[in-house]
Symmetry: C2
Subunit: 305 residues, 2 copies
């Protein structure tokens, strides 16, 4: 089955201690859509300005990403600029220009409304809800969020949570959302706010997954060099939701979600190897399968091959 993805589409300017690139494709939906496209057809919802390169629409076509839900409107595309500290772990936002994103009201094409797998990539919770309201009967809803929404639109976020099957957030956001320093207690507390499952991303330390009766923990792929961490979380969410859609299971269970978390981690680990989405542009399914196998080898301690 296919996966509907809504989120931001941006042109990013990113500076690391070694490199700087301007106006590269970015935004949560861009990363998520390409990440998901390795596993399932994607229906993309978003907005771009008249300065947005036509070539990206061509690229989406090659990746089986249906851009019928991407509005092209007058004005400039959403722009974000950030700079990473020397350790590549902390980043500072240098500027944000919402531009056409400011008045974005996602409108789903009729052909999108029956999609059963939904990824609400990172945008304001009110927009995520607005998209969900237009869906007929989604079977599984994944939502990503960020500290900004926890701090500024908490009520909207809280209202969305009971409609979400899997919430994705990072470790500091989980701690902020619950006021609890223990990630284990925080993950379980967030489940009580509504989502059946919660995935906590921990960057270099991997990810945790909480379910009604189950718990899953995985490490991160042992990368020596990270060139651009931008979009790692979005790619994780996209890879995860794409894998779930691609499996087309009648019901998403914990065993399937474990593997989806690994595929999300695999995609994210590739994404940070180059600026913007450049690594994903030439990634192959064989490379994904190979790294999935590496994940298996690096985390097993019983019944080794």
């Amino acid at each position: 089955m296919s996966v509907l993805i809504v989120g931001s589409i941006a042109l990013d300017t990113v500076k690391t201690p070694v490199e700087e690139h301007a106006d590269q494709l970015g935004g949560s939906a861009s990363y998520a859509a390409v990440g998901a496209s390795f596993f399932a057809p994607v229906k993309l919802v978003g907005v771009v300005g008249d300065d947005f390169p036509e070539s990206e629409f061509e690229f989406w076509k090659t990746r089986n990403i249906d851009a019928a839900g991407v509005q092209r409107v007058q004005g400039r595309t959403f722009r974000w600029s950030g700079e990473y500290a020397w350790d590549m772990n902390t980043r500072e936002t240098r500027s944000v220009a919402l531009n056409v994103f400011e008045n974005f009201e996602p409108q789903l094409p009729e052909s999108f409304r029956d999609t059963q797998m939904v990824l609400l990539a990172n945008i304001a919770p009110s927009l995520q809800a607005h998209v969900l309201n237009q869906m007929r009967q989604p079977r599984f809803v994944v939502a990503d969020t960020m500290d900004l929404w926890i701090q500024t639109t908490r009520k909207d976020l809280d209202a969305l949570l009971p409609r979400v099957d899997l919430l994705i957030l990072n470790d500091s956001e989980a701690r902020e959302m619950t006021g609890d320093t223990s990630l284990i207690r925080a993950g379980r507390a967030i489940r009580r706010m509504g989502p059946k499952y919660v995935a906590v991303k921990k960057g270099e330390h991997g990810a945790l997954l909480f379910g009604p009766d189950d718990f899953f923990s995985c490490g991160a792929y042992p990368l020596e060099d990270i060139h651009d961490p931008t979009g790692a979380g979005d790619t994780f969410a996209g890879g995860l939701a794409g894998y779930l859609a691609g499996q087309g299971a009648d019901e998403v269970d914990f065993a399937l979600l474990r593997r989806a978390v690994i595929f999300g981690s695999v995609l994210a680990s590739f994404n940070v190897e180059a600026f913007s989405l450049n690594r994903l542009r030439n990634l192959t399914s064989d490379e994904i399968d190979e790294r999935y196998e590496m994940f298996r080898l690096m985390s097993q301690f019983e019944v080794l091959p």
Copy 2:
């Protein structure tokens, strides 16, 4: 086979945000010896003062810990006092009194010198070397260290490393030792300093293991409540070395080390559930096996049970 363990034996006073207990059994060798004793007979080397409770010698006997290498000398036992911050992650040392430990020169009883598995628990690298010099032909040497020795006796530590098969240290120490923020690069760089294997402890994020051709990553047991983190690393090292000794393999290989890291993590996860060594005092092998199985379940994503 048995495991020889040398390190500190102390009486600790520990304060957490909720509790405070004075003059409880502590020290790296105390935690490591009891951790190891669940898997193999232990030969313990250390020093205590005339104020050290005789009851601990009795306890060691019940756990098959041979204290023939523990010198009892005139004076007070080594004392350490520390306080944990509200998040239980950072701690401050309030006081250290070396006492009888100041002039400690480990002397191995003749019956100890042929032991083939050695754990040099956390003490000054010069003392660790002094013990190693008295061993006839140890087959596998595990050494634990800490930031203090990296900062103050780096030359001694560097001289010891080529004699060590497995070095254990925590994430911040690995970063400090190499000046590299990437734990992956740091772990590999430390291997080039001498040890064939390096284990990096990451607290709530689990542990990493680096070998010549292999890499292993595991999470931490999902504990909601930590009562006293003191000795977690020492217990990890003890459980790990004890498991290796208990398996009595002719050669320690990476597959065996993976499982040893899990057993070390299991032991450490129990240890933090109560003050001092209190949880280890009534721990059973069934509880250990049960938690090992939980580790397997929480980290598998293929071939589920």
